[in-house]
């Protein structure tokens, strides 16, 4: 019963996540950018733009220039989240991919870094007057959700381990459209429920910054307006 419920929830949440993001990405991709607006100095070639974007999404270059504290907490959180997510691939693959085995030890401790980064960001929402002013309840709740996911995960890893073989069996089953038993461990179920919430709200919340950054014209346009004429389809209509 419990296994079936969670199985259905995971299918539904995955569908919402993938379809929601796909719709949003389609919207961004189809909306034209009528003018060349890269924030200059900007690369003059597409290759340069790709490099700028790569630096932006891996190093958080602009944020580093802007504010070292936000950068530190934000970057640590995101890198740690990436490692933790990579580590979790072991519950979805059999045999486990070699590089997942490789990041396993880092992924384990990254959980602490992730929670530390989140707490740093959260503290700023209380302690820095300007950031307190711009924070909505949803900004706090988002941090609370992520912290709770991290803490419940760490708790299972270091304090009360669930039957991890059974958990893996459940998720491998989902990938093959079978429903295998999920252990009724309260911490595990909390962890999974919170992840479900995160997946569902992803496409309708500020988590849209993940696809959004790639579509930001100030960052993804090459600085070549004199060399190459840029014209949006609706603007071309004006010339007729």
């Amino acid at each position: 019963m419990l296994s079936t419920l969670y199985a259905l929830l995971f299918y539904a949440a995955s569908l919402i996540l993938v379809a929601g993001l796909a719709l949003r990405i389609r919207k961004y991709a189809r909306t034209p950018a009528p003018l060349k607006i890269p924030t200059t100095p900007a690369p003059t070639t597409q290759r340069g733009v790709a490099l700028r974007m790569l630096r932006e999404v891996t190093l958080f270059e602009s944020l580093f220039r802007s504010n070292k504290w936000i950068w530190l907490f934000g970057w640590v959180f995101h890198v740690a989240l990436f490692l933790a997510l990579a580590r979790h691939l072991r519950y979805f693959t059999e045999p486990v991919w070699f590089w997942v085995t490789f990041v396993q030890p880092y992924g384990t401790y990254a959980g602490f870094a992730m929670v530390a980064g989140l707490l740093g960001l959260w503290a700023r929402r209380f302690l820095v007057e300007r950031i307190r002013y711009i924070s909505s309840p949803s900004d706090h709740l988002m941090l609370a959700l992520l912290v709770a996911i991290g803490v419940s995960g760490l708790f299972m890893r270091f304090v009360a381990r669930p039957d991890i073989i059974a958990v893996k069996g459940f998720f491998l089953g989902l990938l093959r459209f079978q429903i295998n038993p999920l252990p009724a461990d309260p911490i595990l179920l909390t962890h999974l429920s919170l992840v479900l919430i995160l997946m569902i709200i992803f496409p309708i919340s500020k988590l849209l910054h993940v696809p959004g950054v790639f579509f930001s014209p100030t960052r993804n346009q090459a600085d070549n307006p004199r060399e190459k004429r840029h014209l949006a389809p609706w603007a071309a209509e004006l010339e007729k």
Binding site: T39, E56, S62, L63, P217
Partner: protein, 515 residues
């Protein structure tokens, strides 16, 4: 942080920090509003004359329309995570302490409404995501705070997603225009360009007379006949320059500088009475259609005069529209000489000549000036000069160092892509916003005071008509002479040696030689 420098050679001194973050002063600038455009100014631009009855529906309709036509607007409404990186980057926030002048808070004035009507969370859980209904108070708040943004893009440099508040401000002003609440200053000026060809409303006859007077002054000054041609068909170069260059100080000295450079280069050039304006306030009000209409005047003038090249004079936002948008709005320019970029900046033109050793200078003519350079926001963050990214910083400085012995930059955090707006850009250069202009100028002026203390800087050069006008008003407020703001080509014009012109020294030595 402001601090006491105990090790300074002339004893301890107090140094103010141009980027010092103020405490929040909620409501400090609330209710500040520039004059609203009169119906006739609105209608000339294709907008309703006054607030329409169904303004709420119309505003939301326009918002949806813009979100479907402009990717930046759509993506930036969704993407902000409220990280706070931009909160201390706006000069108006630094100068006023009003939290609604923090870029993210300024965006949120509109984003909160977008969320309420266009997102799931805002429709069903408005309190959770700070969504709110569009009311008349909100509309008034938009009018106030979207006219406290100079669209300078400093925030977009520092945002991890490149969110550009200027895009939101332009969209907000476009929405306001479409419900009948436009700003008098910008919209009246756009009307003048449509009627007469320039922001000033200077008709061709008056323009010709002005240019003839200036030619006489030049000849009196130099002993050489340096021309300021108008509407001359068959000239090689069309100069598009802000109309302020025809009447305001120090703009005129810049214009005379261009004329001397053209003269020495031996090229034929002309101004156009039809396109006698580089400025394009269509940018400020976020109206693609108006911006396009104004830009097309340049295309038409170039075709009618049969020129081969277009060069822009010193104007910041005009160079953004010229460099980044002209090809889009009024291109393609396949009828011009493709050996030169279209358009070219006067600084690019002058620097090319300097590199070819085609100009001679007497740098000592500028020895009374200890100079610094103010990067104008639109040039710095929305355009380029030369072939390399960052040429917009290097080329004007290289020119100044060629013509002036004493040049010192301001603090790195306040120049180049991090430059601080003059406080008067983006359609705010109007007397009804003087309080805001002064507060917004404070960070830049503090950085100037720093470099004055450190290096005895006396003058600041700029390449923007708005910056020049704004600073000539601000300089006296901060203990400088009004003429402490100079044009880059004024410095060029001071130092340039015109062929056939004898310097004072030579005159003394060779008195028998006729000039």
């Amino acid at each position: 942080m402001a601090s006491l420098d105990m090790d300074h050679e002339d004893g301890p001194r107090f140094i103010a920090d141009p980027l010092e973050i103020p405490r929040l002063k909620c409501g400090a600038m609330e209710g500040l509003k520039p004059f609203v455009a009169a119906p006739q100014h609105q209608e000339k631009l294709g907008f309703p004359g006054e607030l329409v009855e169904d303004w709420k529906e119309k505003a939301l309709e326009k918002m949806a329309d813009l979100a479907s036509k402009n990717r930046a607007f759509q993506v930036y409404l969704d993407t902000c995570v409220k990280c706070g990186a931009c909160t201390d980057k706006c000069h108006y926030f630094l100068g006023t302490g009003d939290p609604k002048n923090m870029p993210v808070a300024r965006q949120d004035l509109l984003r909160s409404v977008y969320r309420r009507y266009f997102t799931f969370a805002g429709k069903y859980f408005p309190w959770l995501v700070g969504a709110r209904d569009l009311t008349e108070e909100v509309l008034q708040e938009w009018y106030s705070y979207y006219h406290q943004c100079s669209e300078c893009r400093r925030c977009s440099v520092f945002c991890p997603y490149g969110i550009d508040t200027a895009e939101i401000t332009m969209a907000a002003r476009d929405i306001l225009d479409h419900v009948g609440v436009g700003q008098k200053y910008s919209n009246e000026i756009i009307g003048k360009v449509k009627d007469i060809g320039n922001n000033l409303g200077l008709n061709p006859k008056a323009l010709r007379a002005t240019l003839e007077d200036l030619e006489e002054d030049l000849e009196d000054d130099t002993g050489i006949s340096v021309r300021l041609p108008l509407d001359e068909k068959g000239a090689d170069i069309l100069l598009i320059t802000p109309s302020a260059d025809f009447f305001a100080e120090p703009h005129i000295d810049g214009l005379l500088g261009y004329a001397k450079v053209f003269h020495e280069a031996g090229v034929s050039w002309t101004l156009s009475s039809y396109a006698s304006e580089a400025a394009n306030f269509g940018l400020f009000i976020g109206s693609y259609e108006n911006m396009r209409e104004i830009s097309l005047r340049i295309r038409k003038a170039a075709q009618e005069l049969g020129v081969k090249r277009i060069i822009f004079g010193e104007c910041g936002h005009a160079w953004r529209v010229g460099y980044s948008f002209l090809n889009t709005l009024a291109g393609p320019f396949d009828f011009l000489d493709q050996n030169y970029p279209v358009p070219q900046h006067i600084c690019e033109f002058t620097w090319d000549l300097i590199q070819k050793d085609a100009l001679r200078f007497d740098k000592s003519k500028n020895d009374e000036f200890r100079l610094t350079f103010h990067d104008s926001c639109n040039v710095a963050r929305a355009s380029r000069m030369g072939d390399m990214p960052g040429g917009q910083f290097e080329i004007p400085r290289a020119i100044l160092k060629t013509v002036c012995n004493h040049f010192y930059d301001m603090e790195r955090d306040t120049i180049m892509e991090s430059t601080l707006c003059c406080g008067g850009g983006g359609g705010l250069l109007t007397d009804d916003l003087m309080e805001l202009r002064k507060k917004g100028a404070t960070p830049r002026m503090t950085a100037l005071q720093q470099v004055t203390e450190d290096h005895g800087v006396t003058h600041m050069a700029a390449i923007c008509a708005i910056c020049k006008t704004q600073f000539s008003k601000m300089m006296p407020e901060f203990g400088y002479e009004m003429d402490s703001i100079v044009s880059v080509h004024q410095m060029v014009g001071n130092a340039i040696i015109l062929t056939g012109q004898e310097t004072q020294d030579q005159d003394d030595e060779n008195e028998a030689v006729p000039a």
